[in-house]
Amino acid sequence: MRRAGRILTWAALGVFTVAFIYPFVWLLSASFKPRGEVFDHRLIPETFILDNYVKVWQEAPLALWMFNTLLVTVLAAVTVTITSAMVAWGFAYFRFPGRGALFGVVLATMMLPGAVTMIPVFLIWNSLGMVGTLTPLWAQNLFGSAFYIFLLRQFFMGLPREPFEAARIDGANNWKIFTKIALPLCRPAIVVTLMFEFQAAWTDLMRPLIYLRDSATFTVPRGLKALLDQFGFGGEWHWEIVMTASVVTTIPMVILFFLGQKHFIKGIATTGSKG
């Protein structure tokens, strides 16, 4: 009976693994097939070609889109991590009047649907003449983000107080205590924040849809949507181009995951337990 149960468990895990991984393999394989064979569902392409990758590079300024996305993503991740860590430290280490209430406000902003602020925030960037540029995609991160402030504060609160008190007695100022002791101690949480925001910024479609007008400024997801509109539905039905571009958009995220798998899993698990 127990043995039968074990075999069933493994069989079920196997089936689900195939179901979860298959779409990736299917997409990757389709990107090496000529147009007519895209939907033949063969795992190994009958005719193996690299033309789709050449074509997508010719049809779309893919390198430029990659550069734009990388720029936005790095700026978004670095700025949000630095400021969120500062703010989280401010809430975790110091005691000051109104701390609880202010932190309550931080949490409350997480509950506010993005739709409510979306239009006025667009109007702010519009009045600054920055619609059409990449700035609105990351600059808000200069002010931190409630979710990461929450996550990092949680981590800071778990640190013992002694090293900080000792440093204070040795004459270290607040900034030194934060940068030289607190930040190095919370490296894992910093890495989680960087990776989460890297993924969020890389994959975002809504803000690029709102703010970007000219193909030269597109991020990869925005460009992918444009390619779908042009080659998928635009009457041409060149799915092989759309699929190849999808592979190019997705692969950096797969690499990111394998680089930091442990951090991702740990970060996700903490999000749940702190809810």
Binding site: F96, P113, T117, I119, F122, I124, L228, V242, T250
Partner: protein, 297 residues
Amino acid sequence: MRWKDSRAALLFISPWAIGFLIFTAWPVINSAYLSLTDYDVINDPSYVGFDNYKALFEDPKVGLALRNTFLFTVMSVPAQLVVALALALLLNSATKATGFFRTAFYLPKMTPPVAIGILLLMLFNGQNGLINSFLGLFGIDGPAWTTDPDWVKPGLVLMSLWTVGASIVIILAALRGVPQELYDSALVDGAGWWRRTSRITVPMISPTLFFLFIVDSINALQSFTEAYTAFFGAGNTTYSNDAALFYAIYLFQQAFEFLHMGYASALAWLLFIVIMAITAVQILVTRRFVHYEGGQS
């Protein structure tokens, strides 16, 4: 204890405070004001009182969008929870290679939503998509998932199951926290797998399931990218895409395609109220099923 450090503390939290004033507090106020105006960005806003809110109730697309969004949420959230729980239980009972399986289940979560929308179109293509080809092996004639209005939402729901990886990881972490003694004594009492699962495991991790239920619902009510990618945009005007018109998509169209900023602001506030109301009802109804160890949340 360290009251004299208030100044330092305020310096540390000042980036957030400034950002809050500029990008949350002011926009909330401005959005409330804009919802009482007609505004197309080019001309100044003109005050129209509650006309936008009245118009919401007469706009058939609002009803349609709300209905679509509700149906999607009601189908996708329980389905995601059940699948995530089942896979987490499976993973938890496996003794080897759990890391490998966890990776396999989490990986789809890394896919950019725009690519998921495209995958949906390919996999669920009614004529030659992978799903229907697979169903064909069993002699089932699959529906036109991407064009038949009755099947568009089920397709989106099925696609959403592909990205339950994060929920699996969260549930798995909770399962690891259930004390082994509980199972030991249940085994002594001769409780079978189903009994142990339904009487010990699920109650013990119910706070986590409750958290996922609330968060997933809030997210589902705001779904945008996958459906927008697959069913809306520049080229596909010949498409019957009304079945995929989610609330967030309609709001986006009103604001940034038709530049009805006032009307879209009213739409945003209605969404806010709807989400708050649904969340409140969910909390009231499900709270009694949630078991908190030591009676604390």
